[in-house]
């Protein structure tokens, strides 16, 4: 089971945090601090896995963002790497050549996409098509661009 997913920049600024188990704010802050220090300190050509307390940490850097996944001990590490990759693919498909700015300005979308394919700490839907289809379906329920432009700017 996955415990948490964190996205942070190379300067350590957190862009997304998803927690799959209940935790106090204090614990969350501590984990965020620990993870950023741990991952940012890694050498370039080391392996992508770290043993931390009783969890495994799988991390990967995509452009300027670090994706950091904390999983329980029995999880398959290589597959966790692929979970991260799958998420990046989905973001890429949705935003078209995704970059960090997209995630900053559309953070709620990033969460929605994440929720489509992960749930309760497990991967929910492994078919990329299915996930894309459901994201598009929910987008259909939203406004068009004209409606967007007519909205107030504050």
């Amino acid at each position: 089971m996955m415990r948490f997913l964190l996205l942070f920049s190379r300067q350590g600024r957190l862009r997304l945090q998803k927690w799959f188990t209940p935790m106090t704010e204090r614990e969350k802050k501590k984990i965020i601090r620990d993870m950023t220090t741990l991952v940012l300190a890694r050498q370039p050509r080391s392996c992508n896995f770290i043993q931390w307390k009783d969890l495994k940490i799988i991390y990967k850097r995509y452009a300027s963002l670090y994706f950091c996944l904390g999983v329980e001990n029995q999880e398959n590490e290589l597959l966790a790497l692929e979970v991260i990759h799958r998420y990046v693919e989905l973001l890429d498909k949705y935003f078209g050549n995704v970059c960090e700015l997209d995630i900053i300005f559309n953070f709620e979308k990033a969460y929605f996409i994440l929720d489509e394919f992960l749930m309760g700490g497990e991967i929910q839907e492994t078919s990329k098509q299915m996930v894309n289809r459901s994201i598009e379906a929910s987008d259909m329920l939203q406004e068009t661009l004209e409606e967007y432009m007519s909205k107030p700017a504050f």
Partner: protein, 846 residues
């Protein structure tokens, strides 16, 4: 213009985010945020009801502010309101907000649960999914109570859409993890297992996750899933890559599902049904074969997915531990990975091999890779890979390669990362002890450990080496010699001083014959480190010194001088001061025999579970420690309790101290006990007041005995009482050889009537005079009567006064003795029934 791709970007939100990003400093950011918070607050409180879009926008802004790291204490109500909106986006934001900012306000919880219930009943799959997601994200107990019965029904209902089924399965899984008692699985079990046969692979994936967790808790209920899982797995593994369409990930067929099925199979032993078992074996062989084929794509995702399935299959093979061919093949495959280009694969191979090393079939196969692993230890740049290599060396260690492995680990220790040193120290200590054929090697190894990484050598390690040295006679001399040599290094670690101090204290005599390690040299060596050590070490050294006094009388004076110095006797630390004082005293007053008994060689420790193993388990956390087993029955106990306060098993120093204290107390007691005076010592001239009081008090319960005694006179009593009358026969014994003259007595009493018969004024030497006292008790009394005696002793006896005057002479003696006539002497028993007694008793309280 911020990047907006499609659909509903909230313009106000985008502007706000830009503003934040443009803030030059933290203070500006906080200022902007506070401004926004005030704005939102006023909007929420305002008279005009906000429209859905604005509410959504503000709630989203609050969420953003929260995720930046600031605290939000309002907005929950508005978010909950959004839940009941009909617009999907508004609902979505509402759910997101309450999943992230979980609130335990019970009113809100009720409202949220209501909204969720509505959405679940709405039959709109998108809404249902949102609701299920929220339950899975929050998973609180209240939600579990409200929905735990509903969700299984949704899961197995025929008309539920596939996507909803997936969500329901994982939602149920989440609830089961947090509140297992509330999730009723009994009636749904069969239907859930049946989901494994579903056409939609997503549903199967979700169902497998659910079943795996449930099967861990109650394996029997889900036994039927094994055959279904095997069938499914073999279908996937043998499928061509186009069959599964979208579930193929970079040319690997359904990797997630395969891994999950393999994980499910790891909850059960190998299937008993032979056809099933052979099918499974076939499956696993196919996976192993596929790993040997050339890759279909250069992309790392392809190899990752393929290898992920491979590693999980190897885990299953290891778990079953029943097919030697498979195990050997797995081992070979891992051996190939040990030298792969990719660091990830080397890491995982080392990790998997650790588990493989504990199986008896493959232990030998694993050992063949020892050179590769040692090489990895020396050359890997990544510290986590080196750590895995250490773990593997530990796991594959057995009698044949113990020396080599321990030597490698020791040399690695010299350059190891500080965070992992303690673990390596513990492992080396365990290995050295377990595989020591020759205990001299063990002693060397531990001393090396202390030399290299003294700070990380915990107490358990050096207690253990001392326990072993004490228990084994053959290694004691060697230990003493080695420790002596090690201590001569100019800068040695404090732990070495502790070990050295203890061992020389116990066994220094074994090397004292050699002039280079004579007692004085040993003492000087230890004492030269004394002032550099912390308090506990110094305490230990003081114990060693007193042991030296016992072993080597020739250095007694030297050591006593050290103990006598003010820095010891007036040391600020209470423990050291006490030890110095007591040891000094012990060395002065105890005879050689006593000292030898007190400081006898430590008896052998009872053979127990090593506390080092317990400490290592605690450090590693649950489930991570690869058991160091070489296939036979050397399994370390699963739960060895760490050392507690049992004095027998505590540190050697504290045992010695306790022993010493007991003996000292004994000695002290003997010198001051007011018991029967020994014949060697004459009684004191005037008995001490405490003695007199003691004697008097003894008469509370007895009527006869000696009341008073001094050098001249002994007074004995015999008394009898009846009702309110008593009679005491007082016997005055003249202990000298000449007469007492002018002997007279008088009794004074406040409340009693005492009638004393007259006595002769002369008592002959060595004779006894009897006096009868008649006593009548007329009222209750507190004070005992006092007997006054006057007499003149013979002139040839020294009295305290006459000593000063240097004149013998019978000076008048005045003695006052309390007579033991107490109220209880006049008590009489009475009989009554228990009712009467309790009645009276209760009256007393009132």
């Amino acid at each position: 213009m911020p990047a907006v791709s499609k659909g509903d970007g909230m313009r106000g939100l985008a502007v706000f985010i830009s503003d934040i990003r443009n803030c030059k400093s933290k203070e500006a950011e906080v200022k902007r945020i506070n401004k926004e918070l005030a704005n939102i607050r006023s909007k929420f409180k305002g008279d005009k009801a906000l429209d859905g879009y604005s509410k959504k926008k503000y709630v989203c802004k609050l969420l953003f502010i929260f995720l930046l790291g600031h605290d939000i204490d309002f907005g929950h109500m508005e978010a909950v309101n959004l839940l009941s909106s009909n617009k999907y986006t508004e609902k979505q934001i509402g759910y997101l907000f309450i999943s992230v900012l979980v609130n335990s306000n019970s009113d809100l919880i009720r409202l949220i649960n209501n909204a969720i219930k509505n959405d679940l009943a709405s039959r709109n799959p998108t809404f249902m999914n949102l609701a299920l997601h929220c339950i899975a994200n929050v998973g609180s107990r209240e939600m579990a109570e409200a929905f735990a019965s509903e969700i299984p029904r949704i899961l197995v209902a025929g008309d539920t859409m596939d996507s909803v089924k997936q969500s329901a399965a994982l939602c149920l899984l989440r609830l089961n993890r947090t509140s297992p008692d509330l999730v009723p699985m009994g009636e749904w079990t069969a239907r859930v297992v049946h989901l494994l046969n579903d056409q939609h692979l997503g549903v199967v994936t979700a169902a497998t996750s659910l079943i795996t967790t449930l099967a861990q808790k109650s394996p029997d209920d889900f036994k039927t899933s094994v055959s279904l899982a095997v069938t499914r797995l073999s279908r996937i593994v043998t499928s061509a890559s186009i069959d599964l369409q979208d579930y193929t990930y970079y040319f690997v067929a359904a990797p997630w599902l395969s891994v999950k099925l393999l994980r499910l199979l790891q909850c059960y032993p190998p299937p008993e049904d032979t056809s099933l078992r052979s099918r499974l074996t076939e499956c696993l062989e196919t996976i192993l074969n596929k790993a040997q084929e050339p890759p279909k794509s250069k992309k790392v995702q392809h190899s990752n997915a393929r290898n992920a399935v491979l590693f999980e299959a190897i885990s299953l093979i290891i778990h079953h531990d029943s097919e030697p061919t498979l195990l050997v093949r797995a081992c070979n495959q891992l051996g190939q990975f040990l030298q792969h280009r990719e660091t990830n694969l080397r890491y995982l191979a080392l990790e998997s091999m650790c588990t493989l090393a504990s199986s008896e079939f493959s232990h030998e196969a694993v050992k063949t890779h020892i050179e590769t692993v040692i090489n990895a230890l020396k050359t890997e740049r990544d510290v986590s890979v080196r750590q895995r290599a250490v773990d593997l060396l530990y796991a594959m260690c057995d009698r044949s390669n113990a020396r080599q492995i321990v030597a490698e680990m020791l040399s690695y220790l010299e350059t190891a990362d500080y965070s992992i040193r303690e673990e390596i120290v513990l492992k080396v200590a365990i290995l050295a002890e377990k595989y020591a054929v020759d205990y001299t090697w063990y002693v060397d190894t531990i001393l090396n450990l202390i030399r290299i990484a003294g700070d990380y050598v915990s107490e358990e390690v050096w207690y253990r080496v001392i326990q072993i040295v004490i228990n084994r006679d053959d290694v004691q001399g060697y230990a003493a010699k080695t420790v002596f040599e090690a201590l001569q290094a100019p800068a040695c670690h404090e732990n070495l001083v502790k070990v050295g101090g203890y061992i020389l204290g116990e066994f220094g005599n074994l090397i004292a014959g050699d002039p280079r390690s004579s007692p004085l040299v040993q003492f000087n060596l230890l004492h030269s480190k004394f002032h550099l050590c912390s308090v506990p070490t110094r305490a230990l050294l003081l114990s060693a010194y007193i042991k030296f006094i016992n072993l080597f009388p020739e250095v007694k004076a030297t050591i006593q001088d050290v103990l006598r110095s003010d820095s010891q006797l007036r040391n600020a630390d209470v423990e050291l001061q006490q030890r110095a004082v007591e040891y000094l005293r012990l060395s002065c007053i105890a005879s050689a025999d006593t000292l030898a008994t007190v400081l006898e060689e430590m008896p052998a420790f009872p053979e127990r579970e090593s506390s080092i193993l317990a400490k290592l388990k605690k450090k590693k956390g649950p489930g991570k420690l690869p058991e160091n087993v070489n296939g036979s029955a050397e399994e370390p106990a699963a739960s060895s309790k760490p050392d507690t306060a049992c004095w027998w098993t505590s540190s050697p120093t504290s045992r010695l101290l306790l022993l010493l204290l007991l003996l000292l107390l004994l000695l002290r007691w003997r010198t001051t006990c007011p018991g029967e005076p020994s014949s060697l010592r004459p009684p004191p001239f005037a008995p001490r007041r405490s003695d007199v009081l003691l004697r008097l008090l003894r008469f509370i319960c007895k009527n006869n005995g000696v009341l008073y005694e001094n050098q001249l006179l002994q007074i004995g009593l015999k008394s009898e009482y009846r009702q309110n009358l008593g009679r005491i026969y007082v016997f005055y014994g003249n202990k000298t050889t000449s007469q007492f003259l002018g002997f007279s007595t008088a009794v004074s009493s406040s409340d009693l009537n005492v009638h004393a018969k007259a006595v002769e004024p002369v008592i002959e030497g060595g004779a006894q005079l009897q006096q009868i006292l008649n006593i009548e008790c007329v009222t209750e009394f507190c004070d005992v009567p006092v007997l006054h005696i006057q007499f003149r002793p013979p002139s040839n006896v020294l009295t305290p006064d006459s000593v000063c005057q240097s004149r013998y002479g019978g000076t008048l003696q005045n003695i006052e003795v309390k007579l033991p006539v107490m109220l209880n002497k006049f008590f009489q028993p009475t009989e009554m029934t228990s009712q009467d007694f309790f009645q009276r008793w209760k009256q007393l309280g009132a």
